[in-house]
Amino acid sequence: MEAFTTLTGIAAPMPQANVDTDKIIPARFLKSISRSGFGKHLFANARYREDGSENPDFVLNQEPYRRAEILIAFENFGCGSSREHAPWALLDFGIRCVIAPDFADIFHNNSFKNGVLPVKLPRAVCEQLMEDARLGGNARITVDLERQVVVRPSGEEIPFQVDPLRRHLLLNGLDDIGQTMQHAPAIDGFEARQKAAQPWLYGG
């Protein structure tokens, strides 16, 4: 996983609540067996017209948002399915940070594990950032995970909170399986105790 330290880039405004995972990546594109290549299908239903051509009204088809690295949205972003294809599609498109008032649990987890940073900020702040994002190419937003601040184009700094363990893993690009493997003796011990107490869980 690529580490995430600080990011300065164009932010795309998506002033919608409940942006669900079927919107982010419709199920018909989930048939790939690799992690890459989902970017072209990101938001496919809104981004392309029925004949396959681009829908010019969709924000990611407009300049400069084709190069957006940050997405600003409203409540309950990423609700719906557990598909990790959602953060893969965002990442493959080039979006590494989503800012919203809150996120659905599974999407929130999945994002961290793929180097996409979900930043929770109050609705009023998201509305301000939405206005900043609408200014387009001249208004870069910075997301600094080290210092846990979002910097508006005006220079104003807005603090945010991220779980310390997740922050540590993301800052260092660490894979959590490796971390967990260090607890192997504890897992072995747990299994031995459980097998004695609940043998039916072990085919006994």
Binding site: P15, Q16, A17, N18, D20, D22, K23, P26, A27, R28, L30, K31, S32, I33, S34, R35, N45, E50, F74, E75, N76, C79, G80, S81, S82, R83, E84, P87, D102, A104, D105, I106, N109, N110, K113, N114, D163, P164, L165, D176, I177, Q179, T180, M181, H183, A184, A186, I187, F190, E191, Q194, Q198, P199, W200, L201, Y202, G203, G204
Partner: protein
């Protein structure tokens, strides 16, 4: 051990599975059962292979093919779609390479992952169960802590049989009283979501309590718990009781004999203690629940079938008004229109929410002696090969096909639009599945969620209909 403070069902299962607590409060949680399917696993097995890691507990892992396959007879001659075939073959190859038990596509036990787990007796009370699919919450009806995970977490469980998790908060949904005629678990779960909203359960595990829930059979309980995720909750739970134990005793793979007795003794200690603390409590009176149907593109946009399409302009704030306008437009509706007047093109009875034998029985009871309306395509897709076999033994398939329903092979089918069963743009469906998001059943498709009884009534009427007007005919 010191006297403990009263604990909830969730607390008890959680406490029994913490391997270690990390300094920041994150728990390393042991997973008792890991269910896998073809769509969310290929990248996880790739990860294992790349790191030279093994599958830690093949005996606690079970694979099945359900999401992307056709539900017509084509599966017997080979999967036609090349991408679907590759995904299925990849699961088969990974199962062989890593020693993971896999139910073959043409096995009679094949079916939707959340139908087969309980049905086979693999999902048991007190377990922790995960699967790379959000509706894993279904297994919570067994009294198990069951939740959906992403592909990175699938990989983590394959390699370590654990997950890194923060404890959830406890929420209680209390439903009491007798359910009205024509209502079922589906109407309860939709009414709950209508009340709490799609984010109402975020960060919580919902325990469904009350005599209405206790009176439901296991199929009804699974329908309720299945949609906990639609209320934003990580998982749903229902305390195990005699109904649960009797159900498990009938399963092929559940514990037997002395092993069953030993398990039973533990299962009986699981229900929430009197006085256990819930962070949030929501109450519903069952008699106030009328047959439900969703009108919009989020499961919270639900109304009694007697309702009318809301007027977006009456919403409180501009953001909500804009959202509702979009929904009304997408769904092809007019504010004030009666829901019962909406013509349907397709009726889908299936999905992990409502494809069990009890669901098919009720659909057949309404279909018996009636005909599907002209121009309506109505599909019944059993949740598993075993459900299909049972339904055929009871003659339900004949009742349904005589009425004009299609009788299909087991799979996810039209629940998600990634296999050949899809809506065409603009088509309106009455569907027993769990999500009505834009494009969920195919691009441009318009989904109304409802119960199997309501779906059968819609198929007969040719429009959304009140099941109370379509009760089973006597003596046909």
């Amino acid at each position: 051990m010191s006297a403990q403070k009263p604990r909830t069902l969730f607390d008890k299962i959680w406490d029994a599975h913490v391997v270690e607590t990390l300094p920041d409060g994150t728990a390393l949680l042991y997973i008792d059962l890991h269910l896998t399917h073809e769509v969310t696993t290929p990248q996880a097995f790739d990860g294992l292979r790349a790191a030279g890691r093994k599958l830690r507990r093949p005996d606690a892992t079970l694979g099945v093919i359900d999401h992307n396959i056709a539900t017509d007879s084509s599966r017997y001659t080979g999967i036609i779609d090349p991408e679907s075939r590759l995904q299925v073959e990849t699961l088969e190859r990974n199962a062989a390479e890593f020693g993971m038990p896999l139910i073959p596509l043409l096995d009679e036990r094949q079916g939707i992952v959340h139908v087969i787990g309980p049905e086979l007796g693999r999902s048991l009370p007190g377990m922790t169960i995960v699967c790379g699919d959000s509706h894993t919450s279904t297994h919570g009806a067994m009294g198990a802590l069951a939740f959906g995970i992403g592909t990175s977490e699938v990989e983590h469980v394959l390699a370590t049989q654990t997950l890194l998790q923060k404890p959830a908060k406890n929420m209680q949904v209390l439903v009491e009283g007798n359910l009205a005629v024509g209502c079922s678990g589906k109407d309860i779960t939709l009414a709950v979501i209508g009340k709490i909203g799609t984010a109402g359960g975020t960060g919580h595990v919902i325990e469904y309590c009350g005599d209405t829930i206790r009176a439901l059979d296991m199929a009804g309980r699974m329908t309720v718990s299945n949609m906990a995720i639609e209320g934003g909750a990580r998982a749903g739970l229902i305390a195990p009781d005699q109904t649960t134990f009797d159900y498990i005793a009938r399963t092929p793979d559940g514990p037997k004999g002395a092993s069953f007795e030993r398990a039973l003794a533990w299962w009986k200690t699981l229900p929430s203690d009197p006085g256990a603390h819930f962070d949030k409590v929501v109450k519903l009176a069952a008699h106030e629940i009328a047959p439900q149907v969703t009108w919009g593109t989020s499961p919270e946009d639900v109304l009694p079938i007697t309702g009318v399409v809301p007027d977006p302009e009456e919403a409180a704030d501009e953001a909500r008004r804009a959202q509702l306008r979009r929904m009304v437009e997408y769904m092809g509706l007019t504010p004030g229109q009666r829901l019962q007047d909406l013509p349907v093109d397709v009726v889908f009875i299936g999905s992990c929410t409502n494809s069990r034998i009890e669901d098919i029985r009720i659909a057949a009871s309404i279909a018996r002696g009636r005909k599907v309306a002209d121009g309506v395509r109505a599909l019944v897709v059993p949740g598993s090969g075993l459900v299909k076999k049972q339904a055929e033994a009871e003659g339900l398939d004949r009742i349904l096909t005589e009425a004009g329903f299609e009788w299909r092979e087991a799979g996810c089918s039209m629940c998600l639009g990634m296999n050949p069963d899809k809506l065409k743009p603009g088509q309106r469906s009455a569907s027993t599945s769990n999500r009505n998001f834009e494009g969920r059943q195919g691009p441009g498709g318009r989904t109304h969620l409802l119960s199997p009884a309501m779906a059968a009534a819609a198929a007969i009427a040719g429009h959304l209909a009140d099941v109370r007007d379509y009760q089973p005919k006597e003596g046909v």
